[in-house]
């Protein structure tokens, strides 16, 4: 007997393409709200590639969560609908399907080294428009903003030059044009 017949559940049948999406979620900034959002993703087996959260409207106590996720179109639709029905969620906007959007990340990159390595690190930082925000005789901390792939290349270039550690914000995103979410 094949496995499909011995299980209690129907077999998986979907073979749709997996896509990456950036979702902006406006939520009440109340205790546990992030746990609700993350719990939804883990509980239902959705992916989180990047997640950022901060209060954006202080008077109304609203936070904006930016989530980069992956899934088939049907799963993405589920994710949006499931998010939308959480009680503290006000709005869910799909920035990938909703027209052109800007996506940026900020990273702090610590590099340790001397001599030529140190000079090379500074030169590359200049080329990438990374700022020095901390320096000692043997180290720099660079601040760099940009699209994720730009940060990725910068970090990769720093690796042989004495990369110590990286701290990244994850992606924040906003739609282009005059309209808000």
């Amino acid at each position: 007997m094949n496995t499909a017949a011995t299980t209690h559940y129907p077999a998986m049948t979907t073979s749709q393409q997996v896509e990456s999406r950036t979702l902006c979620v406006l939520v009440d900034n109340e205790p546990g709200v992030l746990a609700r959002v993350i719990g939804l993703f883990s509980g239902r087996g959705y992916n989180i590639d990047s997640l950022t959260v901060s209060e954006t409207e202080h008077e109304e106590h609203l936070s904006r969560i930016t989530i980069v996720t992956r899934g088939t179109p049907m799963v993405i639709e589920q994710i949006k609908n499931q998010l939308d029905r959480l009680v503290p969620v006000h709005r869910v906007v799909d920035l990938t399907s909703g027209g052109p959007a800007l996506q940026r990340e900020l990273a702090m990159v610590k590099v340790r080294g001397k001599g030529e390595h140190r000079m090379e690190a500074l030169r590359l930082a200049d080329a990438f428009r990374a700022r020095v925000i901390d320096a000692t005789n043997e180290s720099f901390v660079f601040e760099i903003t940009g699209a994720s792939d730009k940060i990725e290349s910068f970090v990769n270039l720093m690796r042989p030059l004495g990369l110590v550690e990286v701290s990244r914000t994850g992606i924040v995103a906003i739609g282009r044009g005059p309209e808000g979410m």
């Binding site: 017949a5 205790p31 009680v87 006000h90």
Partner: protein
């Protein structure tokens, strides 16, 4: 605005929200609320024997009345014991407000005695939950909890109240109309889409209504409107386990329940229809079977109040988000106003085909004079109780499916069963809640002997409050559905599905000061059922049945609707045409 303690606010809010009965169990962290319950007569408290029982009783209460069920339990184990009931209520969309005590605020996170992270534990099994850290928030939170539990797609809401907040004084305010900041479920369906749906219905050749628990949850009006629409259109109708009773089983347009243990005609109609109109149903895996072979040739309309139910398992052609009653009302109106005429010929042919499927008599079984067949027991129970003011609850397993197949429900809110979660032990406590809400009605828990032992202690509750529930135990000494799967799919290796030692249910009933009846022969069944109905106290009815009987029809998992297994008593003639089928329109 009146000054009172947090504990008094809880009672005031319950009373103001129309709660008559609260099911609960006291403990250290809720003592102030119990103190406030003492010497007042606005809210009556029903003491259960286990917190899971409290939640199921509240579910039974809620589902048989359409009101919000209320529960009061203590912190730690009180809250964790309630988790199964909460999950059950979430799966089946039952409106509940569950109040849990919590250790004092300054001890939260301290691993205090009987502390647990109640909001953390219940977050995934509630529609919403609150931890109240300021007594000033308490009245708003309590009223909001009732609003959230009852509106939109209903569900359980937990309010976790630390003990110091119960003692603290503050100003109480009565509930008033308010708009929640973010939570505003959509109830009115989009008229353009409803119009489109009506056009699709008028053009259909092989249409089918597929309805679910959402119709029941939407209230009596939804069932009435559904009946009107089904009559107007002349279409056949089937329903999920949760939707039974929304449409009367006695009606000729009723095809019986669909799904894994649904009728031959309901499942074949689902498979072969060209238009499926899903109303308040969620395309659960027990319904769809193999997804890529699910109703391959049909257009699908889906009406649901919860947008996340749409396109979750099955891609539909037209989605209408809204409350069933609202949408059905618009549909009836637009159908009446529509100039489009359905294809009578096609519909006639469709009914002829359905008549052929019906002739299969898929619920047939071989009866016996020696041993009670479980199906026979349920049929006799139905025959001897039909026409009475009756509510049925069930546990989970074979007996539940036989009850769904064979007990004929004519009205909504009369059938309480654990569908989504499939909680063994649901039926007895649910019956307690139902009987409390309907003291003069007949309440029967069609049970299995394995399930009912999980919450048997609630017999004690039934006795304490003079609730004459009838627990009709289909006793085959097996976890019957487990045994059936082991027989059909695991080579007959009956691993741990037989109960070697069962209590004597008659003596057990006596031990609870209830009434016990045992029935072992088909010949004495009627007489004993009559005895059960006559006794005006809780009854444990031990109906000893054939241990080997299987529940058919059955769609083995991973198979489509047209590959059902039938019992050997079903009609073999593949294409029997009945006169019945021919005259149906």
């Amino acid at each position: 605005m009146t000054d009172m303690t947090g504990a008094e606010m809880v009672i005031a809010a319950l009373a103001d929200q129309g709660v008559e009965h609260i099911f609960g169990y006291p403990g250290g962290a809720v003592l102030p609320i119990y103190d406030a319950l003492f010497n007042q007569d606005r809210v009556s408290h029903i003491l259960v024997r286990h917190e899971q029982g409290a939640v199921h009783a509240a579910e039974g209460y809620a589902r048989s009345t359409g009101k919000v069920g209320a529960v009061l339990v203590t912190s730690g184990p009180g809250a964790t014991n309630a988790v199964t009931g909460l999950t059950d209520a979430l799966c089946d969309s039952v409106p509940l407000v569950v109040i849990t005590g919590q250790v004092p605020t300054h001890l939260i996170g301290n691993d205090a005695f009987q502390e647990c992270d109640t909001v953390g534990i219940t977050r995934p099994c509630t529609k919403y939950n609150y931890l109240v850290k300021n007594v000033a928030d308490l009245p708003r939170v309590l009223h909001e909890a009732f609003h959230i539990a009852a509106s939109g797609r209903p569900g359980p809401v937990v309010v976790d109240i630390p003990k110091d907040i119960q003692f603290a004084k503050g100003a109480y305010s009565r509930p008033r109309e308010f708009q929640h900041r973010g939570y505003r479920p959509k109830t009115k369906g989009d008229l353009d889409k409803i119009k489109e749906a009506v056009d699709m219905m008028a053009a259909a050749q092989r249409p089918l209504f597929y309805t679910g628990g959402g119709v029941i949850n939407s209230g009596r009006a939804a069932s009435d409107l559904l009946r009107e629409l089904v009559k107007l259109t002349g279409f056949p109708i089937t329903s999920t386990l949760m939707g039974l009773g929304a449409f009367p089983a006695a009606d000729r347009q009723w095809l019986g329940m669909l799904g894994m243990h649904g009728t031959w005609e309901a499942n074949w109609s689902m498979h072969d229809c060209d238009l499926m109109i899903a109303v308040g149903a969620r395309f659960d895996d027990r319904i769809t079977g193999r997804l890529d072979a699910f109703s391959p040739g049909s257009k699908k309309i889906h009406i649901d109040i919860d947008p996340s139910s749409i396109n979750k398992n099955v891609k539909v052609d037209l989605a209408i988000v809204g409350d069933c009653a609202h949408v059905l009302e618009d549909m009836v109106r637009l159908w009446r106003a529509s100039a489009l005429v359905p294809d009578k010929k096609a519909l006639e042919a469709w009914w002829t085909q359905i008549g052929k499927w019906r002739a299969k008599n898929s619920l047939a079984y071989r009866n016996s004079n020696e041993i009670i067949k479980p199906q026979y027991a349920i049929q006799r129970l139905y025959e001897l109780t039909k026409g009475r003011d009756i509510y049925i609850t069930t546990e989970v397993g074979q007996h539940q499916m036989w009850a769904a197949q064979l007990y004929q429900f004519q009205e909504p809110n009369r059938w309480m069963t654990s569908g989504g979660l499939g909680t063994m032990g649901y039926g007895l406590p649910a019956a307690v809640g139902v009987q409390l809400a309907h003291p003069n009605s007949l309440v029967v828990d069609i049970a299995g002997e394995a399930s009912v032992l999980m919450t048997m202690q609630e017999m004690s509750t039934a006795v304490q409050y003079d609730l004459p529930i009838k627990v009709f135990i289909i006793n085959n000494r097996y976890m019957g559905m487990v045994r059936q799967w082991q027989e059909l799919l695991h080579g007959g290796r009956y691993a741990h599905s037989y109960t070697e030692a069962l209590p004597d249910f008659v003596k057990l009933a006596e031990a609870y000061h209830a009434h016990g009846i045992r029935c072992e022969h088909p010949g004495e069944l009627d007489e004993k059922i009559r005895e059960m109905l006559k006794v005006n106290k809780p009854v444990l009815f031990d109906c000893v049945v054939d241990p080997a009987e299987n529940c058919f029809p059955m769609i083995p998992s991973g198979r489509p609707h047209n590959e059902m297994l039938l019992g050997d008593a079903a009609t073999r003639v593949e294409d029997a045409v009945t006169e019945e089928g021919k005259v149906m329109v």
